[in-house]
Each structure stands twice: as C-alpha cells, then as structure tokens.
C-alpha cells in the first residue's frame, strides 16, 4: 500500500505539513516495498488559485491510496475521494509518529473536508 504524507522534509523523520494544497512536498511511503518517493508540490505552490485541486491531481497520479495530512480543503477532498484516495487527518509532528498512529488504527478516515475552503 502506498501512503502519502504532506511534509517539508524528505525522510520519515521530517515534519508533517498541516497544509495540503500548499504543502512543500509529498512523501509517498510504500509499506510493502518499505521504500519512499518524494514528489515536489512546487508547481502548485505557484498557482494563484486552485492549489488544492492541483495538489490532489498530482497526488492521484502517484498511485497512493492513503493520504495523511493536517487539513484538506473541500475541493481537494472531492478530487481525492473521486480517485479513491482515503484521507486521514492527523496532528502528529513527524511522519514517523503519523505512520505509527496509522498502523495502530489510531487515525480515522475523514468523510468530509476538514476545511471550508474559500471564505470571502
């Protein structure tokens, strides 16, 4: 199973980035192969709008089926769920902690977006 995290670093010791759309990068951990891949989210960081949507599109292409992040907006949520990615909001500081919580079934899958998205 491929598990995606939002992060600012490039190892499992790195911090979990609470933002999804404007996260620095995704770390994709393959729990079967025990290896990891880093996917940059820079292109999305440069979008004036729709960062969450672009990030979700990028993530869908990685083949990850689980996303562990802080907050995920409604548009990204729609894209990810349509693509079959399960979203687990998490408050852990590091990816290692987040992964442990996930493996111990301490995280619950969200059925709705955790952010309201664009407020005016």
């Amino acid at each position: 199973m491929k598990i995606a995290f939002t992060t600012t670093g490039d190892t499992l010791d790195a911090e979990l980035d609470p933002r999804f759309g404007r996260a620095n990068r995704f770390l994709i951990y393959d729990s079967d192969q025990k290896n990891l891949v880093i996917i940059d989210n820079n292109q999305n960081l440069n979008a004036a709008q729709g960062a969450g949507i672009q990030a979700a599109t990028t993530l869908c292409k990685t083949g990850a089926t689980v996303l562990i992040t802080g907050h995920c907006g409604p548009k990204a949520f729609k894209v990810l769920t349509a693509a079959g990615v399960k979203i687990y909001p998490c408050k852990a500081k590091t990816l290692t902690e987040a992964l442990a919580q996930f493996n111990n079934h301490e995280l619950s899958e969200t059925r709705e977006a955790t952010n309201e998205g664009h407020w005016i």
Partner: protein, 294 residues
C-alpha cells in the same frame, strides 16, 4: 480652488468614491454626499465584499435579483476523458481524472475556453448565482447594493451587475471597494470623476500614491478628499501640490465622527455643518464636467 454657490440641481454624472486602503472614511463620505444632494440621487454600493452603505441609510429594499455567471457543465456520457479542458483552464477549475471530469465552478472565470476546446462537445454553459443586487429607497436616495455570496471568490461580475443599474438621468455616486486591484478598477472604470479619500498620514499618503498611479493609467479625472485633515503631517498636501492634484475638501478629525460611526450614525449626524460644503463640492465637480475648470 474657487467654490461656486450652492445650486438646486447637479448635472447627472457618475462620481466614484475610492481609496487606496480601507478605513479612510470612503463609505461615510459616499453616504454623506448622497444625503447632502438636493435632488434625487442614485448610490451604487460596489463594495460587494463588505457592502456597508445601507447601515447608515436603513432603506426599505424592495427588489432582490440574483447575479449569475456562465460556468461549464459536463455531460459525462459525451466526455472522452481526454483532459484537454483541464489542461487549457488557467484557473484550475477543471480536474480530469482517468474516469471522471470534475468542474469547480467557484474557480471559473467564465472565459468559455473549455467549451470551445472540448472535442466531443461534452461541455455546455449554465448560469450560476454568485451574488445578489438589491434596490431600496431612502428619502431622495435610491440605493443599489451588491452582495457577493459567501464562498465566492470573484467580485467583478457582481460589481458589473450593480453598475448596470446606472440610470443616466440621475447623479450616480459609486462607493468603490478599497485597494487598487481588479475590483476597484472594475468599479471606477467609466466614472466621470473619481474622489479619492485619504488621511494626512504616511500610510494615507502611500496608499494615495498607489491609487493615483492606478487612476492615471486608467486616464480618469480625479480629486482628493482629505479626511481627518487636522491629524498627521503635511505629506499628502505637499504631494498633491507637487502632482497638481486638487484637494477638493478637508474634513476635520472629530472624535464624535468615530463615536457616531461606531453607533451606525453617518458623517452628517456628527458634523451637520459639512452639508453645504458637500453641496458646493458636487456643484464644482458638476461644472467641471461641463467644461469648467476645477
């Protein structure tokens, strides 16, 4: 500046009230000008993210109309999931997944590009509400208020809808959104004259210079209203002098104005003596529109 004596009527024109930043007294001035006017006047509240004019006027709104924009809708049975529409959209409003195409109409700018580009004609346009406009009457003032719906990001379509209510038979005062970006430009465009409201402080001066640059690019005639004129320094006055910009009115800083504002009362409630000055101001601008000099 020579002020002409008060007249009973002011020529119909579009007078925009703008400012480089919020909190300078733009709305209170727009309302006071409308109240001071001796003939019927239209007040267009184009500050659609935060329409506040009605707080000082309490009109009876009679009509509420939706404002809509054209956004794409998809017929999934015709979609080949080629993804060309998503690639084309500059605003990230379309996502093409292998088996699904999703449209996020709140990000759509209604350019119509995706509809033109779709090779299977799976996309058509539909109207989506983004806000409302309301019309109300308060004595001689007809107020048109635009309100952007919560959750909508783009105010220009609502601003344009408010401005379409303009009736060339009447003096029309436009309360513009603050700043110098897209919404402000949409609101001031086509105005016959713009009044920039500022304060004689370094912040006021800095924001005024940005607003002046914007109006010069748009080639619109304008003058400055110096609010709370007895605070701060000479920076704005010196700048206006250097740039040959007319300071058309100075309004003193009065604690009672701030107190009145906090209680939803207008400028003329706090400073009734201002009324004849505002009338003279309207006459002066009106005459300049007929070829006179300010």
């Amino acid at each position: 500046m020579r002020l002409s004596p008060p007249q009973t009527t002011v020529q119909p024109m579009k007078l925009a009230i703008a400012s480089g930043k919020g909190g300078t007294g733009k709305t209170t001035l727009a309302v006071a000008l409308a109240q001071a006017c001796l003939s019927p006047v239209h007040l267009l509240d184009c500050d659609v993210e935060e329409p506040n004019s009605h707080l000082f006027l309490t009109p009876h709104f009679s009509k509420k109309q939706p404002v809509t924009v054209a956004v794409p809708q998809i017929d999934e049975t015709l979609c080949s999931h080629c993804g060309q529409c998503a690639d084309f959209c500059q605003f990230n409003a379309i996502v093409a997944l292998p088996k699904q195409t999703m449209i996020f109409s709140e990000l759509c700018h209604s350019c119509g590009g995706c509809i033109r580009i779709c090779p299977t004609n799976a996309l058509t346009e539909t109207d989506k509400p983004v806000g409302t406009i309301e019309r109300g009457q308060c004595d001689h003032i007809t107020l048109v208020k635009g309100t952007l719906d919560v959750g909508q990001a783009m105010s220009p379509p609502v601003i344009r809808a408010v401005k379409k209510q303009h009736d060339p038979k009447y003096l029309t005062i436009i309360d513009c959104p603050p700043g110098t970006s897209c919404p402000m430009i949409t609101a001031v465009r086509d105005a016959d004259f713009v009044l920039l409201v500022t304060e004689p402080t370094p912040f006021g001066l800095h924001d005024l210079t940005l607003a002046v640059e914007t109006l010069r690019q748009l080639k619109l005639p304008f003058g400055v209203i110096l609010n709370r004129c007895d605070i701060g320094d000479q920076g704005v006055v010196n700048y206006c002098h250097q740039e040959s910009i007319t300071i058309m009115l100075q309004i003193p800083d009065a604690r009672q104005v701030a107190v009145a504002y906090s209680r939803g009362k207008g400028l003329l409630d706090a400073l009734p003596d201002l009324k004849p000055q505002l009338q003279r101001l309207l006459n002066t601008i009106s005459q300049s529109q007929q070829g006179g000099q300010i």
